[in-house]
């Protein structure tokens, strides 16, 4: 083969490079479209790391191919040591193959270390914004979130919403102490069980709803094994650990759900820009931690309504289907 080996390695490198260049332009080959407020930052980190590793991949491969070509072995020759061995025994053998080149070694240790340091610090602001509890959206803060409780179990996501009335209170009376206490009590748990449940909580399965531009705070726990709440479109991924309740939050920037007059159901995968159903707008919650035989089917969906009114229409609809019909309240005479 001789010098042909270098050609083989060169072709493989070029093929890899070519695939990376083409992939972003083929719809389902690359990252799904980011539709949350922080997806831009996550993607920026991804691209920074991709460019750095890509650059060094090309550099090292090019050097490899060049040296393979230049120093290709010929039949009948033996490798020639570059430096006479100073010591005998084991070290002589080692030195024969790995001659000392101190400066180069220092360089290839310090440069990657600096790059790693850069990456470690560059990602801090993004990480804080997505995960750090000090940035957790709070009631009365910059953005009052809606809350839901997602309880993972083999093999589905069981979701609990507060009643529409309670949710409206959280949204309206953001400085009222009672409301704030109520808001916090929603996420206070006794194991996997809410400590202060409300009789009018709304249970749904495999559906997390919010509306466009509205931050949602997901209180995540699991009732059996470890699961992972992964929403690629929202650039969110968080493990659910037994015995812990972990807050996850994101703010969608696009809507994908509308009420279908024909089927009388709220349906996702709807592209509001084109006004047509579009599978690119199906945003799945995929379990990202192998949790048992049904792991592959542990899929939920994110439903982002177009506006607040439509979201409440949905929530009230679910509420009505679960609760007893009530008599019209009698008017209380005003004093």
């Amino acid at each position: 083969m001789g010098k042909w080996w270098s050609a083989l390695f060169g072709i493989v490198m070029l093929a890899c490079l070519g695939m990376f260049m083409v992939a972003p332009f083929v719809p389902t080959w690359w990252l799904p479209e980011g539709v949350s407020t922080h997806s831009g930052q996550v993607d920026a980190l991804f691209y920074i790391i991709l460019y750095i590793t890509g650059f060094f991949f090309v550099l090292t491969e090019a050097l490899l191919v060049y040296f393979m070509y230049k120093y290709a072995g010929q039949p009948g020759t033996t490798p020639r040591p570059t430096e006479p061995a100073a010591q005998g025994g084991f070290y002589a053998m080692l030195h024969r193959w790995f001659p000392d080149a101190h400066r180069v070694e220092v360089a290839w240790t310090i440069v990657p270390a600096l790059i790693l340091l850069f990456i470690a610090f560059a990602q801090v602001p993004t990480w804080l914004e997505i995960k750090d509890r000090s940035r957790k959206p709070a009631i009365g803060g910059e953005k009052t979130p809606i809350q839901c409780h997602v309880s993972a179990r083999q093999f589905e996501w069981r979701v609990r919403y507060p009643s529409s009335q309670r949710l409206r209170n959280w949204q309206t009376f953001t400085t009222n102490e009672k409301t704030i206490a109520d808001f916090k009590s929603f996420a206070s748990f006794d194991g996997a069980k809410p400590r202060h449940p409300h009789l009018d909580d709304v249970p749904v399965v495999n559906e997390v709803h919010t509306w466009k531009g509205q931050t949602i705070l997901v209180q995540l726990n699991t009732i059996d094994v470890i699961h992972s709440f992964n929403v690629p479109h929202m650039r969110v991924k968080q493990d659910a650990l037994p015995g812990r309740t972990i807050p996850v939050w994101f703010t969608p920037t696009k809507a994908n759900t509308r009420y279908n007059e024909e089927t009388k159901r709220w349906e996702d995968a709807f592209n509001f820009t084109t006004g047509k159903p579009d599978m690119g707008y199906r945003w799945e919650i995929a379990c990202a931690e192998l949790c048992g035989w049904g792991h592959h089917r542990m899929i939920g969906r994110i439903y982002v309504h177009e506006n607040k009114a439509d979201f409440y229409r949905w929530l009230e609809h679910v509420e009505q289907s679960q609760a007893p019909p009530t008599k019209p309240q009698q008017k209380v005479a005003a004093r």
Binding site: R153, Q154, F155, E156, R158, K193, R195, H196, P197, L199, P203, V205, N206, E207, T263, R265, W293, G294, R297, M298, I299, G300, R301, S321, Q322, A323, P324, P325, T326, K327, Q329
Partner: protein, 435 residues
């Protein structure tokens, strides 16, 4: 070393293996023709109530609870360690179980042929069997069933089995075990059962598919598209009608002869007649049940009436005289006595924490739910609990209380039961102490 010849020689073999795997996988969404609906071989439970006494433990240390009545026949069964040998055999001889293996070869062949005539012999070509009205109202036409059957094979078969017997390959590792459809009994439904056991509606089966059964291995299938779920519902109804026809025929058209230890046809009339009558009856039952949903009346709902309601629910649950007279001051003694009949605590001992194991209609050991865990298998919506109290849970021993309790009283029980997982809340907000 020269690699090329070795590689070249093994290439055809590699290609053949790869191709056979790929092509074999291509037909995986259809049944092989070798898969047939067979006459059941596991025993029928004839007398669930007297299978054995209540017990505090399932009595099978280190093992899953009984999967089906078949486990009761398998010897030596640790379940019967403490009983006399004679009693083991008695289960069949006393008529509590009926073993279809005791049919003669000819009878079995006849039964198989007759069932096949109505329902088709293979799951890849199921036939509805029922009359045209039932086919129309329950969506049991052949096309729907064929599609539903293909989907069932992918999604359901590995637990629920080819004939819906709840004994698919994975069922052995699943606790509680998957449902056996072949008795036509469905636990979680919204159809009025006060006047007697009725079939569930299509919507009920759909709800179970979409929401799953919390606390069991039945997950939600809500991500399949709606039409596919409709197909599955149709096929489950088909399996249930086929299974129940077989069940009723084996139960009613044959007699067990103790001396011969055999099952013999009861009358001289053709078994086909009986099967036909069962199929017709079942088709009608299913159609009739569809519009018999439980009607829920509107009620007051404000914090004060809710608190009173929880107190009344507490009294009804405990069925104690002192509590009842306090909660229903206007009621007459006879009415109170009547209300005492709805005692929840009789089975849900210590709110279900010390409930005894009993045999259900499938011959497996079950216990009244532990209501302090907040896990409701039939759904956690208030209306779901209402349905359970009003119409009971078929096959499980939970009876319909709709005949004893009025609509408002059922809501009382529901309001109280929903607070049971949170004793602190009951104590602080309602002054009810439970330990």
């Amino acid at each position: 070393m020269r690699l090329a010849p070795v590689v070249l020689k093994s290439l055809p073999v590699c290609l053949a293996v790869t191709l056979s795997i790929l092509l074999g996988g291509c037909t995986s969404d259809t049944y092989s023709d070798a898969i047939r609906y067979l006459v059941r071989t596991d025993p029928l439970v004839m007398d669930a109530e007297n299978l054995g006494p209540e017990r505090p433990e399932p009595d099978r240390p280190g093992q899953l609870p009984l999967m089906s009545a078949k486990d009761l026949l398998e010897l030596p069964n640790p379940f019967y360690q403490n009983l006399a040998d004679a009693e083991k055999a008695n289960l069949v001889k006393t008529g509590k179980l009926r073993d279809p293996n005791l049919l003669t070869a000819v009878d079995r062949k006849n039964l198989q042929a007759n069932l096949d005539q109505f329902f088709g012999s293979r799951p890849n070509r199921p036939r509805p069997g029922v009359d045209s009205e039932a086919i129309r109202k329950l969506r049991l036409d052949e096309q729907t069933l064929a599609k539903g059957s293909a989907l069932y094979r992918v999604q359901c078969l590995h637990c629920h089995g080819v004939t819906g017997n709840g004994r698919g390959p994975t069922s052995r590792w699943v606790n509680p075990h998957p449902r056996d459809y072949r008795q036509g009994l469905f636990k979680f439904q919204s159809i009025d059962q006060v006047a007697g056991i009725r079939k569930p509606s299509r919507d009920d089966l759909m709800r179970t598919l979409v929401r799953g059964v919390e606390g069991t291995s039945m997950p939600s299938f809500g991500l399949l598209n709606h039409e596919d779920l409709e197909l599955l519902v149709s096929y489950v109804i088909h399996l249930s009608i086929r299974g129940e026809t077989e069940f009723q025929t084996l139960k009613n058209a044959y007699d067990y002869k103790v001396e011969a230890n055999a099952l013999v046809p009861r009358s001289s009339s053709e078994p086909l007649d009986t099967i036909e009558s069962f199929v017709a009856k079942l088709g009608k039952d299913w159609v009739d049940a569809q519009d018999k949903a439980i009607v829920i009346e509107p009620k007051d709902d404000d914090p004060k009436s809710r608190a009173e309601s929880v107190h009344r629910g507490h009294a009804l649950f405990m069925a104690e005289d002192a509590l009842l007279t306090k909660a229903f001051p206007a009621a007459k003694a006879a009415d109170l006595n009547n209300l005492k009949g709805a005692s929840c605590v009789k089975c849900h001992k210590d709110f279900g924490r010390q409930a005894n194991f009993k045999f259900d209609s499938w011959g497996t050991l079950v216990r009244a739910a532990n209501l302090t865990t907040g896990n409701y298998r039939g759904g956690s919506r208030p209306v779901d609990l209402y349905f359970r109290v009003h119409s009971g849970i078929n096959g499980s021993g939970m009876v319909a209380f709709g005949s004893i309790l009025k609509s408002e009283q059922i809501w009382d029980v529901v309001n109280f039961v929903r607070l049971l997982p949170y004793p602190e809340m009951l104590r602080k907000e309602f002054g009810i102490n439970i330990r």
